[in-house]
């Protein structure tokens, strides 16, 4: 009897889990069918260029904006037939399946945002043998064998972090104490963002680092960490938050400590440029936001055209990211902020 109960219960849980999964997918862009099926469903288009997009799928606001942007770029009107194949639960196996299906089908070009960096050699070789150019979108592969793909487009963490330090040193030459709110230890992005920032700030000894802590990309931890740092070092002039969320938390902590955000109190700079951060900058709750730009459809279109024409390209094309250094700039950008 107990066994029966258990079985029934497991079934129920399965059903619930399914419902939630389905609900979770409902919000994502069109074409979320199983990756292996979607290439087969579409019929060969007349004079349209067929592009297979092996994508990451639902991951977060940044990815959503990025993949939506790619889909909006390669439309039928622009002469493309884009086949969007998001990974199932960030699973690499489903990506490889979709990739192989695209190769077998003989698409004209494949865009790849790999969920995992390793294990792509065989698939990429198959594409090469079939003479299908592959362009990496955002995510790189490892080992980074540049002969296997046409080019890679991505924003550069090092450059983005540099832009913050450059702004700080140029506008506030007096210097002071500063702290860094980092992402989780051991993540590549964290190292790159630290590296870029340190490269510039090491040339400006008037800015002294009095602490660095991980706040795990989280708002409330960003607040907690900043709050404590402000107790042990009341003279902090600048907070470098490696993502928007932690910066928003820092902003709350600064206000609560009775200080103002800005030149007369504590400056706060963040990376990413999500809508929330741009809004906060417009409201004077942040001082500087460096964008990590997900919207590089135009640059990607360029690279795709060159690859189709067989032109040789640089193995890495840096995506241009902008920065927002004033509430006015933020207000101007707000109305059509996509992510």
């Amino acid at each position: 009897m107990f066994n029966n109960q258990l079985r029934w219960g497991l079934g129920l849980i399965g059903a619930i889990a399914l419902t939630f999964t389905a609900a979770g997918c409902a919000g994502t862009p069109a074409g979320t069918g199983a990756p292996a099926e979607s290439p087969a469903q579409t019929q060969p288009a007349g004079d349209l260029t067929t592009i297979g997009f092996v994508a990451v799928g639902p991951e977060g606001a940044w990815r959503k904006a990025n993949e939506q942007n790619v889909q909006d770029t390669f439309t039928k009107e622009a002469g493309f037939d884009l086949k969007y194949a998001p990974a199932a639960n960030l699973d690499q196996k489903s990506q490889i399946d979709a990739f192989t299906a695209f190769v077998d089908e003989g698409v004209d070009l494949i865009l790849l945002s790999a969920t995992e960096a390793t294990g792509w050699e065989d698939s990429l070789q198959r594409a090469q043998e079939a003479e299908i150019p592959v362009i990496l979108v955002d995510r790189g592969i490892s080992p980074d064998d540049t002969s296997l793909y046409a080019t890679r487009l991505a924003p550069n963490n090092v450059t983005v972090a540099k832009s913050i330090a450059e702004w700080l040193v140029a506008n506030y030459p007096d210097g002071g104490e500063y702290i860094t709110l980092e992402g989780p230890a051991g993540v590549g992005v964290v190292d790159e963002r630290n590296q870029g920032f340190d490269e510039v700030i090491s040339g400006a000894p008037q800015w002294k680092k009095v602490g660095a802590q991980t706040a795990n990309w989280k708002v409330d931890e960003g607040k907690s960490v900043t709050e404590t740092f402000l107790k042990s070092n009341p003279n902090i002039k600048f907070v470098f938050a490696q993502n928007d969320e932690m910066g928003l938390g820092a902003s709350e902590a600064v206000t609560e400590a009775g200080k103002v955000v800005g030149a007369d109190g504590v400056l706060i700079a963040t990376i990413d440029g999500t809508k929330n951060a741009i809004q906060a900058l417009a409201d004077g709750k942040l001082s500087f936001v460096a964008e990590y730009n997900p919207l590089f459809g135009d640059q990607l279109l360029d690279a795709v055209k060159k690859a189709l024409a067989g032109e040789k390209q640089e193995p890495y094309i840096e995506v241009i990211s902008t920065t927002f250094d004033s509430p006015e700039a933020a207000k101007a950008a707000l109305p059509d902020r996509k992510f």
Binding site: L10, D220, A257
Partner: protein
């Protein structure tokens, strides 16, 4: 001046604590650990314990206040968790209840856009509580009427809860403006943070309810021996359902604290791994994961310890990479001190020493 007041208050608390037969309680070592951590901070900065009143912001300012504020959500989920664990269950979904509750509240506030309306904030809190209660009720129903393992049930809800939060906000980190809602978490009464007062009020009310009625007794009896309590006429289903719903509701209020403090819900961050904090707090507080006897006071001490630990790591400037290791060492030491076997080991050695007076006369005196 404020430094002296702080130290005197602290020492007073310390002495009072010792006087009240602290040593016999399971959570004694938790208190010791808190004191040791605070001492470490005190060594780094002699002014660590000082609490001052800031004229500019009209609030009490100090590291102790920060610790108490940081402990508020942990305290709530730990107290909910202690009841669930007492019934031989476990609730892994508290972190997800936090984010789902927080998401419901923030989404509502961002849609209605009434930054000054008290009723708007009240509805937001109510929505959060309902969300938490719903998640708790699903847990409870699956555990009782379906007979699923609590671990599996709440594990599923842990994954589903964050999914629910994503659906509620459409995958965005929703930010909103609401002065009364923010006051609940960031406001002060006579300089004292509201969030601590609310947390203490809830915990006290719950403790009174549990211990002044038969509820605590039946919870323990279900945890100690379900069949015996069944034969004694206790039907566990209602009890289990109640504790899971309570846990969900408390977690959702914790979620309100977490999102209210920054007025944005962080879909992937809010409440992430909070269930581990809660379980740790419960264990540190001397409640066995095997169920049965439980201590709400112990869970509160555990929550305070975790908050102190979090803040100490920050204050001492321990590098981000070493933080988890540092925390782990403290917790392991604490568990060792609490372990009956380890304690027995010491008493046995001392007893052996006493039995052989020629070998160690001084040890026998110490014993």
């Amino acid at each position: 001046m404020s430094l002296i007041v702080g130290i005197v208050a602290f020492v007073g608390f310390l002495v009072a604590g010792i006087v009240y037969k602290l040593y016999r309680s399971q959570w004694f070592w938790g208190i010791v650990a808190i004191i040791l951590l605070l001492s470490a901070n005190l060594i780094k900065d002699p002014g660590y314990l000082s609490i001052t009143y800031s004229e500019a912001t009209g609030r009490l300012v100090g590291n102790l206040v920060d610790i108490l504020r940081w402990s508020a959500p942990i305290m709530l989920i730990a107290v909910g968790m202690v009841l669930v664990i007492a019934t031989r269950g476990i609730d892994l979904s508290v972190g997800s209840s936090m984010v789902a509750g927080g998401a419901a509240a923030m989404q509502f506030l961002s849609v209605v856009k009434t930054p000054d309306s008290v009723s708007g904030a009240a509805i937001a809190v109510l929505l959060a509580i309902l969300t938490g209660a719903a998640i708790g009720a699903i847990n409870g129903l699956l555990v009782t009427y379906v007979g699923l393992q609590p671990f599996i049930t709440t594990l599923v809800m842990m994954m589903a809860g964050r999914g629910i939060a994503k659906v509620i906000t459409g995958g965005q980190n929703t930010a909103a403006d609401s002065a009364p809602f923010k006051w609940l978490v960031n406001g002060t009464v006579l300089g004292f943070p509201v969030v601590i007062l609310i947390a203490l009020a809830i915990v006290t009310a719950l403790a009174l309810f549990v211990r002044r009625t038969a509820f605590g007794l039946v919870v323990e009896s279900v945890g100690i021996n379900p069949s015996a309590s069944w034969m004694a006429g206790i039907r566990p289903n209602g009890i289990l359902l109640t504790v899971y719903i309570l846990s969900g509701v408390l977690a959702a209020i914790g979620g309100v604290f977490a999102v209210g403090s920054v007025m944005v819900v962080d879909i992937s961050g809010t409440g992430y791994q909070s269930e581990l904090d809660a379980i740790l707090a419960v264990v540190v507080g001397g409640t066995s994961l095997a169920g049965g006897k439980f201590s709400i006071r112990g869970a509160v001490v555990g929550a305070l310890l975790i908050a102190t630990l979090d803040k100490t790591v920050l204050f001492l400037g321990i590098s981000g990479a070493a933080t988890p290791a540092f925390k782990a060492v403290v917790i392991v030491l604490l568990c060792l001190l609490q372990s009956q076997r380890v304690r027995n080991l010491f008493t046995q050695r001392r007893a052996a020493a006493t039995a052989d007076p020629a070998a160690a006369p001084k040890a026998s005196v110490a014993a």
